[in-house]
Symmetry: C2
Subunit: 338 residues, 2 copies
DNA sequence: CTGTTAGCGCTTTCAA
DNA sequence: TTGAAAGCGCTAACAG
């Protein structure tokens, strides 16, 4: 009795074994599988029969090597908590699927060696989309760009790397204006304008809305974008460290955690202080009062990134300036509307 | 003047050009890049210099072909709305990263030809994890299994395909028991036990809790798991089509939309009717009353799937029965507790 | 319509 | 410590 076969042994049918089984050449097998050239119906059937008799699964790597491209797009995102990145990914994946591209995903928050991860990614895809705040050193992105098409999502275009973004400045101006027009005179911007171009532009719109009305904008309260950061800020606000009759938060997570903390402390929202956010996450519809916020076309943004990647791979030249998708103000009760 | 080079032309450095530039053989280049064999320090430096002078990016496909594996795991999920799948994916990706495996993602809701998508996936990865309710025909999964390791997440093990799951029956029994012990006597199960093993097992626990107390369980109200389905059910409940003093919903989306709809109609939750869910999504902490629910170790579930895939690829035999991760009851106010 | 054959770029013996 | 050379499995001319 010989050594027992590993229970996981892969049969390992190749194009050769299929050809042999079908009594044709490997070229013919390749032709029927690619569906390209014309093959006699009888021959085609023989091949197909052989294929599933042997349970043949082509080796993608061999094809990629021969055709000299991967038929895959890379996507680099910070993480997936909250609906924003997930929705972006869904849009990206859906469009990539339409274009017959696989998507290989890298989440930077789980990586210790980000640079290595991206380099490794570049090894197996034709093009890469990177989220703006994914914290990849600019020179890494640039060197990547020298080898493969790259687009940055929600970031600034630079060095021939094109960008796709959602509109921020004008909608922020509109949102801040809306709050100001409720008669609020001390509206604080909560979020760090230096943390990325999205927040920077939202802050710019906030400042513009004040300027429009001849008002002075307060200094931004620089906090990160998580629920925990919001809760911490709420405590400081409650302790009297800040004075405000309205809060314009850089995203909904922040707005939600702050609003809830204020309510739990007995403050009235929007009576004592109005709170508005950005993103229109699911929770924003459920809380009371409903959170006034801005909805971004996140799905479309992902899809656009995938489309551009494909076009760049196809040889189209990169665009000079960012493609911008429109956003939409969603007015609910937390801003002071009834 | 010749034809202008495409602005997207990839330089196309290969191991040969690097070797030439460094004045060594391609074998040596390979050795320093793999870090495997010992190479004289001086030689190593020459190679490294050449590598970034040329901006060399190895071609993954060529390596895969030579080493005969992809160093990539496939993951098939239905979609990513809501935190459940996103969290699962994060867990999977993180563990895969630790194991130096790329992850290529397929979302079935965006596919018209699911079978083709999975077949195509099999072409470029070493192993595949499929979410239980991803609606892949059983025979496709089985034929896949003949070629590569497969694990199903939150499904039943079968035909040598192993499964990883979160505990459902006992926690459902505990949850239903908790509601019953609040004195509720007409608790309805909202969700379709035939839609997948998760819901089936939650329903089984619900039935068991009744049996434990010598009570009769009502027939389940078979609805799908989205917010829209919940809202539709709420309308029917409000219209008097069902009678209940408590609702045990198959997931939080359902519970949340139902609870909100009831409240909007003036019903008191939990006074008139208690509502409990499953998953502990973010919103469940924010609504008032807080939603009583069950928290699953979703991240760990994803990580476990990735681990098993890797072990299977390494030749370990598949397990007979599902590996089960414990869940945790999260009691807030919606069940009747104060 | 089908077969032969030359690579695609990399890893890995085997020698030196 | 290094080089030569034989593949890995597939595609795509090129012949026939």
């Amino acid at each position: 009795m010989g050594k027992p076969a590993s229970p996981e042994a892969k049969p390992g049918a190749t194009i050769y074994s299929v050809a042999e089984h079908a009594g044709v050449s490997i070229a013919t097998v390749s032709r029927v599988l690619q569906g390209a050239a014309v093959v006699a119906e009888a021959t085609r059937q023989k091949v197909l029969t052989a294929v599933d008799a042997l349970g043949y699964v082509p080796l993608g790597a061999a094809r990629s090597l021969a055709v000299r491209h991967h038929e895959a797009h890379g996507l680099v995102l910070p993480e997936l908590s909250g609906p924003y990145y997930a929705e972006l990914l869904m849009g990206f994946e859906a469009r990539a699927a339409e274009l017959d591209q696989s998507v290989v995903l890298v989440l930077t928050d789980s990586r210790t060696d980000l640079v290595a991860a991206v380099r490794q990614l570049a090894t197996r895809v034709d093009a890469i989309a990177v989220f703006g705040s994914a914290a990849i050193p600019a020179d890494v992105v640039r060197s990547l760009r020298a080898k493969k098409p790259v687009v940055v999502i929600a970031g600034e275009p630079h060095d021939g790397i094109e960008a796709v973004v959602a509109e921020n400045v004008e909608s922020a101006r509109e949102l801040a204006g809306h709050v100001l027009d409720h008669g609020r005179r001390r509206v604080l911007f909560v979020g760090d304008p230096d943390s990325g171009s999205d927040v920077r532009n939202r802050h710019a719109g906030y400042v513009a809305a004040h300027r429009d009305r001849g008002l002075d904008a307060a200094e931004p309260v620089r906090v990160a974008l998580s629920e925990a950061d919001g809760a911490a800020f709420a405590r400081r606000l409650l302790a009297g460290e800040h004075e405000a009759d309205a809060l314009m938060c850089a995203n909904d997570e922040l707005a939600l955690s702050i609003m809830t903390a204020l309510q739990d402390a007995g403050r009235d929202v929007p009576g004592d202080v109005a709170v508005v956010g950005w993103d229109d996450v699911m929770t924003s519809r459920y809380v009371r009062p409903g959170l006034t916020t801005v909805r971004q076309p996140v799905h479309e943004l992902g899809a656009l990134a995938a489309s551009r990647l494909h076009e760049l791979v196809s040889g189209e030249p990169p665009r000079e300036d960012a493609q911008m998708l429109p956003t939409q103000l969603v007015v609910r009760g937390s801003c002071g509307c009834t």
